[in-house]
């Protein structure tokens, strides 16, 4: 029971996502940070307010972290279909093949 809980905690902390999710997460992080930076600079320059620019940039970065870091479900929409353990379908009898003869 304790082991199961520890496994769950470890999964949440590690936050693994699938390959498509990794691609998506990287795209979201780069685009969001760039857009936030551009908005912060433009708003700050147009309103001549450097404090506002800093807060927009920091706030936007915090939002980006929230969007990217946790393993949200949409990052796990394309799980990898691994082969089954032991490969029951192909090798039922011979476990080792040497010189195309089955070794028993």
């Amino acid at each position: 029971m304790a082991e199961q809980i520890l496994d769950q905690v470890r999964d949440v902390v590690e936050g693994q996502i699938d390959f498509e999710g990794q691609k998506l997460a990287e795209l979201i992080a780069n685009v969001a940070l760039s857009v936030v930076g551009a908005i912060a600079f433009l708003v700050g320059y147009l309103l001549q307010d450097i404090k506002l620019a800093v807060w927009i940039a920091l706030g936007g970065t915090a939002l980006t972290f929230v969007a990217v870091v946790p393993p949200w479900p949409f990052y796990n929409n394309n799980p990898v279909a691994w082969l089954q353990v032991g490969g029951r379908s192909q090798h039922t009898t011979a476990s080792l093949v040497v010189d195309e003869k089955a070794v028993r």
Binding site: V13, E14, G15, Q16, I17, G21, Q22, K23, A25, E26, A29, N30, L33, S34, V36, G37, A40, F41, G44, Y45, L47, Q48, D49, I50, K51, L52, A53, A57, T61, T64, F65, V68, V69, P70, P71
Partner: protein, 231 residues
């Protein structure tokens, strides 16, 4: 981007890049902002030379010039979103003289001493100013709701007492001729390079117009009785 830790590292890494680029853009935005500081009037109103000691226990007596002045200056164009504070100072300058009293032509401003200075903060930097709570509250109120306040760059001083009484390493300054006052400024930005008043135009940054007083001669030493009366 496999695990949370890797995503934190990658996102933070790109954040630092973005922050650096924005800082560079902010610093560069200074160069497309015109600057046209001007000094309407800078003149002395009262000149005095007294004898005094550099410190309480000194046995050496030196001559100190007390130069009161009036100043009208418009430095409001120096206050942009990237301005943290502007340091304004007034110097007295006089040429070097040889022992025979002949002016050495090559060092027209061989001597330069600050007689007055001030720090003008931008509203974004009011929390950094070296003021008491009451004065700080007043300063904040004066710019309430404003991100920048160029009106702080408008200086108007009438018969201003100098902050510093100046002397010369030789200890002699009475009857010094060809002394001028000059206004200087130093813009300290949030990001970017420090800039001082320049002698030539750089693009949109015009040189300080005016800022130099007429030449004057310091008076002789005050008589002892007079000096006592004033102090």
């Amino acid at each position: 981007m496999y695990s949370s830790l890797v995503r934190i590292q990658n996102t933070f890494g790109f954040f630092t890049t973005v922050a650096f680029v924005i800082a560079a853009l902010i610093a560069a935005s200074d160069f497309i902002t015109p600057r046209a500081p001007s000094v309407g009037m800078l003149k002395t109103t009262n000149l005095q030379v007294v004898r005094g000691r550099p410190h309480y226990y000194s046995s050496k007596k030196e001559e100190y010039a007390i130069i009161k002045f009036s100043l009208d200056a418009d430095l409001s164009s120096l206050f942009t979103w990237n301005t943290k504070q502007v340091f304004v100072y007034v110097t007295a300058e006089w040429p070097s003289t040889s022992t025979t009293g002949v002016t050495i032509a090559s060092n027209a401003t061989a001597n330069q001493a600050v007689i007055w200075d001030a720090i003008i903060t931008s509203p974004s930097a009011d929390h950094l100013s070296n003021l008491g709570p009451a004065a700080l509250k007043k300063l904040r109120k004066s710019a309430a709701g404003k991100a920048i306040d160029p009106s702080r760059g408008k200086l108007s001083l009438k018969n201003q007492r100098p902050k510093y009484q100046i002397t010369h390493p030789s200890g002699k300054i009475a009857e010094m001729a060809d002394v001028t006052l000059r206004l200087h400024y130093n813009v300290q930005p949030w990001v970017g390079v420090l800039t001082w008043n320049q002698g030539v135009d750089y693009g949109l940054w015009k040189q300080l117009s005016g800022g130099l007083s007429r030449k004057f001669t310091l008076p002789g030493l005050k008589k002892k009785e007079e000096a006592k009366k004033t102090s």
